[in-house]
């Protein structure tokens, strides 16, 4: 306010008062003016103004005693300017009475009362105001604060009400949070604290308290975040330090309970630092030292052993150093924990639980140091400390259980547990330890009962589950049940003892591949690295996963652990033998035969070579090429077979037989098998060996043995596998290596399939063989026979169902094009499966993107599709990518099959170039194909492709060269000769030569059906050749021959019909008309779909023969055999057409 304006206002106010001195509002306004002036000025001047204003407020209050505002200002005046608290309080009181919602007066009054310590009066004022008006939010807020302060948390509704008036007051939200927290409404408390933090991010109290609640609720991660935020704002806040450390401890326990020891340890390291910083701030808080003790003790129990050495670097010395370092770290942490607990105990010796903590830590240190406790009557320190706790809290049943755990004396153990159970009969942990104690005493029945009781009281306790599983060999549990029980124990509490027990049970029950066992054993190695059993089990788990390198490393570590451990001589010898046998086996499987043999030699020297080691030794020697010694060992094994357990005996016999076959050949192995007692031959493994040897043996000496094996089998899967081996024997039985009798195998499997129609293995075998027959219809039969799996392909035989599907797609000779614009389908079956095939191949490729076969077959099938559709552009683009992928795959090995696949891929690429107009590229790709061809490959088609490339380039000289090359290299595939014949005729490459005819006829193979079909096609090409020479009579003869076979393709019949019609047109003889009618009628009947032109020609022929009705009928047929959009205009005018024909 400027001084001029202020003076004007003062004059106006004074004039107004002078004009009406009894008006209270004039007094109030003038008072307010002076009050403001007083606020604006300082010192004596301010005081003078305020005194003046007080005079006017008094006057105003006198004239209008119901005006609260005057009293409020008087309250201000008395409380601040002329310090008279009593008068101030009275004035404020009057103001609040007149207007309970006046928060300024209310707050002023409360502050006065608060300052003079009149809390109950303050509360009464607030209560009165809040009762008078629900909008007196200040009163509710004060009341809320007071109640929170007085711990009357159940009145939190006052705060809730106040928040309606002050929704943005962070303090209020914080108080509400505290109130909820005291009531145990933790979620509501977290929300309230959260709101307070949102409104004011420096609310340390809210952060810490919400962190504490989150820790209590087990949300350690969120709790830790809150404490970290609190520490950022207040780095010296001890509560935040301890809260953060507690949170980290909680999270680390969570990690350790799931086996993430490394993670847990890193959290504990941080926690330890944080709590140490906290103890520097306030060193006399016992709970801080106890927390530090807890953290260090947890670290000692959680710190993992981590060995990064590779297999070659493992030796006893380095292993010992590594173990000692690990032990030192654990022991250091345990000692640190002990010191912290002791300090806590000094600060608060009345806390019984700290005695227990010290006792447990001392026990941990003793066990880490592996001290041999002297057998004296004197009580050990852990026991004494535990007793100290019981002296303070004799009714704490858990302390009794701890005493029993720490005590070495069985009587005291039992007494303590029974005392604990007397205090609480449903104390599951006491029952569990009682069970453990009885078990150690050999009282298995009592132990079982105690474990059972503990488990029924608390199923989430690990010890009873583990205890129950340990008794599996008593006959009460099967190994699988024991495994399940132990698995539960190891999952609840991942301690190394349970995990190693789980590993042993997994070996017995065949669960070594289970990921739970893998995880458990890896964790056991981290926590019990000095225990050879953990490394040995780790080796077994790795071996089961075919990870032989890791297995070898693990067994080597087990050997080191055995050497540095303290064991009696016999136990050591026994363990060393086990580990060495395992190591030898792993070495042998990893192709380190030399090392395996050396390991076995050591065993032999120590006289520890048992039957299983003998087997490994024999295999290792055989792999090393030491056949004589291997054979001697095999004989030795055969001699001791009768002393072995049946399962081991079968394995040994199988190995001996295999060795005999590999070393001495077929006859001795067959003779050996004949000598084996029949009870051993009925196992699956031996039956397979018998079947295989029988398949190789021409004289079928083992036929009887095989038949008896077949009858004893129960499993369909094994029988199917055995039949597939027998099928192989049928194929090989009488054929030579070059000429296998596949049809015999097909016949055999067809019979077997009748017995086992649901066997996918037999179906796959049959389909694979069908595809190998070269039969004209084989691809359809194979497709129908095989079942495409969704998901797990189990045993698939020679080829997987996906492969069969893909091969059948390209092996079909028919066209299956669906678009009538391009061609007409000639095969019903192919049309059904054709569209699905590419999708199924893509599905396969998506499932197994690494599969070269999938890619290759997809490429071929898409090429087939492109060929049928006359190479449309979109398919060509896709094909180009597929081809480039197939060529760039460098995973291909250097074997002949891979080279051949590459050869065919390059030929496909060449064909694609040809179709896209890149003739030079076509030629160079075909040349590349020739380069990659394996030594015994068939180069015919590459030369043929070159021939086509040169034709496209118009270089007839080179065409002739390649033609001669084709003739020179020859092929076994009839289609090759047919195409060459076509070329020869079309380009007049060689006249009067029947070389192609001779080669073609000598190459015909397969069933009668396919032989006829090939011959028919060859005749078609010959016919075509005659047509080019205008020799229609010879052409008719060739085609007549082509049509003379059974099941001939309708297209051939159409050709024959057409040529006959042409001859008839040339008036060569009326009999041709009759021939035409016969062929065309047959074509009409055999074609799966109406074939255009057939009916038109037939109509013409019938008309020529004078059959008008047939003429009309066939014309109608013709009309409908065309797709609607392609019907020729001529057909619209049959009469005109007929006239044209007659003419």
């Amino acid at each position: 306010m400027t001084s001029v304006a202020g003076d004007n206002l003062l004059n106006q106010l004074q004039e107004a008062l002078a004009s009406d001195p009894d008006n209270p509002s004039h007094h109030f306004n003038l008072g307010l003016f002076f009050w403001k002036k007083g606020e604006e000025t300082v010192g004596e001047e301010s005081k003078r103004y305020k005194e003046k204003s007080a005079e006017h407020f008094v006057a105003s209050a006198k004239l209008n005693p119901s005006d609260g505002a005057s009293f409020r200002f008087l309250g201000y005046y008395y409380s601040t300017t002329s310090v008279d608290e009593q008068r101030a309080a009275k004035c404020y009181q009057r103001a609040v009475n007149l207007s309970p919602e006046d928060f300024e007066a209310g707050e002023g009054l409360c502050d006065l009362l608060d300052g003079s310590g009149k809390e109950s009066l303050e509360m009464a004022v607030c209560r009165e105001a809040s009762d008078k008006s629900p909008r007196a939010f200040w009163a509710f807020r004060r009341l809320g604060y007071l109640q929170v302060h007085q711990r009357n948390g159940w009145r939190q509704y006052k705060l809730q009400h106040a928040i309606r008036g002050y929704p943005a007051c962070a303090d209020l939200w914080e108080a509400l949070g505290l109130s909820y927290q005291r009531l145990g409404m933790f979620t509501a408390a977290i929300k309230s604290y959260g709101r307070a933090i949102e409104l004011e991010d420096s609310k340390v109290f809210s952060l810490i308290e919400s962190g504490n609640i989150l820790l209590m609720l087990g949300s350690f991660r969120k709790g830790i975040e809150q404490f970290r935020s609190a520490l950022k704002i207040a780095p010296q806040n001890a509560s935040a330090h301890f809260g953060l450390a507690s949170g980290l401890l909680g999270l680390s326990k969570e990690c350790a309970s799931s086996g993430a020891f490394g993670w847990g340890a890193s959290l504990l390291e941080e926690a330890s630092e944080v709590v140490k910083a906290g103890t520097h701030l306030c060193g006399n808080v016992y709970s801080a030292w106890k927390l530090h003790g807890d953290i260090q003790s947890a670290y000692a129990k959680c710190f993992p052993w981590d060995d990064k050495r590779t297999c070659d670097e493992i030796n006893e010395g380095s292993f010992k150093i590594s173990i000692n370092n690990w032990k030192k770290t654990c022991l250091f942490a345990a000692n640190d924990a002990k010191r912290s607990y002791q300090r806590a105990l000094h600060l608060a010796p009345w806390h019984a639980n700290i005695y227990t903590d010290v006792a447990i830590t001392l026990d941990l240190i003793d066990s880490s140091e592996e001290k041999e406790t002297p057998e004296t009557d004197v009580w050990q320190i852990p026991e004494r400390m535990s007793m100290g706790s019981l002296l303070l809290e004799g009714v704490n049943c858990e302390s009794w259980v701890i005493l029993s755990c720490l005590s070495k004396d069985p009587a005291l153990k039992q007494h303590a547990l029974i005392r604990g159970l007397q205090l609480d009969a449903s104390l599951s942990i006491a029952w569990a330890y009682l069970g453990k104690m009885y078990r150690n005493l050999g009282e298995r029945q009592l132990a079982g009962q105690a474990f059972d009781r503990a488990r029924s009281i608390d199923p989430s306790l690990a010890l009873p589950w583990a205890g129950m599983s340990a008794d599996f060999h008593e006959g009460t549990l099967s190994t699988s049940e024991a495994y399940e029980s132990c698995l539960r124990a190891a999952q609840i509490l991942p301690v190394a003892e349970f995990q190693m027990g789980l590993g042993k049970l997994a070996v017995l029950s065949g669960h070594l591949l289970s990921p739970q066992v893998f995880g458990a054993i890896r964790q056991a190695v981290q926590r019990a690295p000095c225990c050879p059993e953990s490394h040995n089990l780790n080796g077994l788990v790795c071996e089961a996963r075919s990870d032989y390198q890791s297995a070898i490393a693990a067994y080597r570590l087990a050997q080191c652990a055995l050497k540095i451990g303290c064991y009696s001589k016999d136990v050591l010898r026994c363990h060393q033998a086990d580990v060495s046998i395992n190591l030898a086996r792993a070495l042998c499987q990893a192709d380190y035969a030399m090392d395996a043999a050396r390991e076995c030699e050591h065993l032999e020297k120590d006289d520890l070579l048992d039957s299983s080691a003998l087997q490994i030794y024999a295999v290792a020697l055989w792999k090393l090429g030491n056949r004589d010694l291997a054979f001697t060992l095999a004989k030795k094994m055969a001699k001791i077979v009768s002393t072995m357990k049946p399962r081991c005996a079968v394995a040994a016999l199988g190995l001996v037989c295999s060795l005999v076959y590999c070393i001495s050949g077929l006859n001795p192995s067959a003779t050996f098998l004949q000598k084996i007692p029949t009870e051993f031959l009925h196992s699956t493994k031996m039956s397979f060996i018998v079947a295989t040897i029988n398949a190789l043996d021409q004289s079928s000496r083992l036929e009887m043995l095989l038949q008896s094996s077949l009858q004893t089998f129960a499993s369909h899967e094994s029988v199917a596998e055995l039949h597939s081996i027998i099928c192989m024997s049928k194929i090989m039985g009488h054929g030579s290596e070059q000429n296998l009798e596949i049809h015999r195998g097909v016949d055999y499997l067809k019979k077997v399939l009748h017995m086992y129609p649901d066997s996918n293995l037999i179906r796959n075998y049959l389909s694979s063989l069908l595809l190998s027959t070269g039969d004209w219809m084989a691809s359809h039969k194979a497709t129908e026979c095989t079942v495409i799996p969704s998901g797990y392909p189990v045993k698939t035989g020679l080829k997987s169902p996906f492969e069969i599907n893909g091969i059948a797609g390209v092996a079909c000779y028919s066209s299956c094009v669906t678009s009538p614009k391009l061609s007409f389908p000639t095969c019903k079956d192919q049309l059904m499966f054709g569209s699905l095939r590419v999708h199924q191949l893509q599905k396969w490729l998506h499932q197994e993107p690494w599969s070269g076969e999938a890619h290759y077959l997809l490429l071929l099938n898409v090429l087939q599709k492109a060929r049928e559709e006359k190479f449309p552009q979109n398919l060509c683009v896709t094909l180009k990518r597929l081809v480039s992928v197939a060529i760039s795959r460098d995973t291909c090995n250097d074997n002949d099959l891979c080279k051949h696949l590459k050869f065919l891929t390059l030929l496909s690429a060449s064909e694609l170039s040809l179709q896209c107009g890149d003739y030079l590229g076509c030629g160079s790709l075909a040349d590349n194909a020739l380069e990659v061809l394996p030594p015994h490959g068939d180069p015919f088609f590459a030369h043929l492709q070159l021939c086509r490339a040169y034709v496209a380039q118009g270089d007839m000289e080179k065409v002739k060269d390649e033609y001669l090359n084709c003739l020179r290299v020859k092929t076994a595939h009839p289609i090759g000769w047919i195409i060459l014949k076509y070329f020869e005729s079309k380009f007049k490459l060689q006249k009067d030569s029947n070389m192609i005819d001779i080669n073609f006829r000598s190459n015909l193979y397969g069933s009668q059906c396919s032989r006829n079909m090939w011959t028919a096609i060859f005749n078609l090409v010959s016919g075509q050749s005659y047509i080019w020479d205008q020799d229609f009579h010879s052409a008719e003869k060739a085609l007549a021959l082509a049509c003379s076979f059974r099941d001939v393709d309708s297209c051939l019949l159409l050709c024959h019909g057409a040529i006959c019609m042409e001859l008839a047109r040339q008036r060569a003889g009326s009999e041709f008309l009759q021939h035409a009618v016969t062929s065309l009628k047959k074509a009409q009947e055999t074609s799966p779909f109406p074939l255009p032109i057939v009916s038109a020609l037939l109509a013409q022929a019938e008309a020529s023969l004078g059959a008008r009705a047939k003429w009309e009928k066939n014309l109608r047929f013709e009309w409908f055999s065309w797709p609607p959009e392609m019907r020729p205009a001529e057909l619209l005018f049959p009469n005109a057409l007929a006239f044209q024909f007659w003419a």
């Binding site: 490394g262 993670w263 289970s514 690494w850 898409v862």
Partner: protein, 282 residues
């Protein structure tokens, strides 16, 4: 857990994928939601606007090198994994240029017959929620973990022994990695401490896809046994099995965090039966 009134609806029958012309392989959505990338067997990655379907960029990868891809949580990088080159390629999403290639170290050849020695085939990739780590799953079951800011390989995670098809980090903890594998198991790894901390079994065939719920307390898996399973991470157990699909389930996805209301708890699954199913859960 799923409410009793779970609705399973076939949202749309997908067009039969004409794979001969544009063979489908994988798609990845940008965290901002406006962009997506799709890859096909022809090895082209097409980045497109989700609303308008207009192509933003076309990235050409070497043949047969794209089987899985994922945008990083900030959306600045696109990780493309796959193929016999055993590497993950990182593309910058502002310039669409290749910025880095993280190669998975091949194990030392042990013996000639060892298949794994001939090379790894990378199948899956996952970003940690803080964008600092990248995990990459291979055909032989090993998982490689990379430090992205330093472009450095850290270590392998072991435990699977068949192809690892899908992986996801816990949205609440960058240390926890969930993996789905053909060995029918779902693993829970401490990816920093390279330890297997949990395994969940229940599927009877390959586990093809996995996703973690926004709160990290549950994971969903799709399998070639045609089921979708919901797992409780704390209990390490399957809570519910959905059997509405009639063919193998190739993808599952929770609605990303950030939503409110009923849509916050929604899970989608996509199957070879050409349908997408949506589930509400609470």
């Amino acid at each position: 857990m799923f409410t009793s009134d779970v609705f399973v609806s076939t949202v749309c029958a997908l067009e039969p994928l004409d794979l001969s012309t544009r063979p489908y392989d994988c798609v990845a959505a940008h965290p901002a939601g406006a962009l997506a990338a799709s890859a096909s067997l022809d090895s082209f990655i097409r980045v497109f606007d989700v609303e308008s379907n207009s192509t933003i960029a076309t990235l050409e990868a070497p043949p047969s090198e794209v089987w899985n891809m994922q945008f990083d949580p900030k959306g600045t990088l696109l990780a493309v994994a796959g193929g016999g080159s055993a590497s993950v390629k990182l593309w910058d999403t502002s310039s669409w240029q290749l910025v880095s290639t993280l190669a998975v170290p091949r194990p030392e050849p042990t013996k000639p017959s060892d298949r794994s020695a001939s090379g790894k085939f990378v199948l899956s990739v996952a970003w940690s929620p803080d964008g600092k780590r990248l995990a990459c799953g291979s055909m032989d079951g090993t998982i490689a973990v990379f430090d992205v800011p330093r472009s450095k390989f850290l270590h392998h995670l072991e435990g699977h022994y068949m192809p690892v098809r899908s992986m996801v980090y816990s949205p609440v903890d960058p240390r926890i990695l969930f993996t789905a594998c053909d060995d029918t198991h779902v693993h829970l790894y401490d990816a920093e401490g390279k330890s297997l901390v949990g395994a969940m079994s229940g599927h009877v065939s390959w586990v093809l896809s996995i996703d973690a719920s926004p709160d990290g307390a549950a994971v969903a898996t799709g399998s070639s046994d045609r089921t979708v399973r919901l797992w409780d991470v704390g209990m390490r157990a399957s809570m519910q099995t959905m059997t509405n699909h009639t063919d193998q389930v190739w993808g599952v996805a929770f609605r990303p965090p950030g939503g409110t209301g009923i849509r916050a708890g929604r899970l989608a699954s996509v199957s070879d039966d050409k349908s997408i199913s949506l589930y509400d859960y609470s």
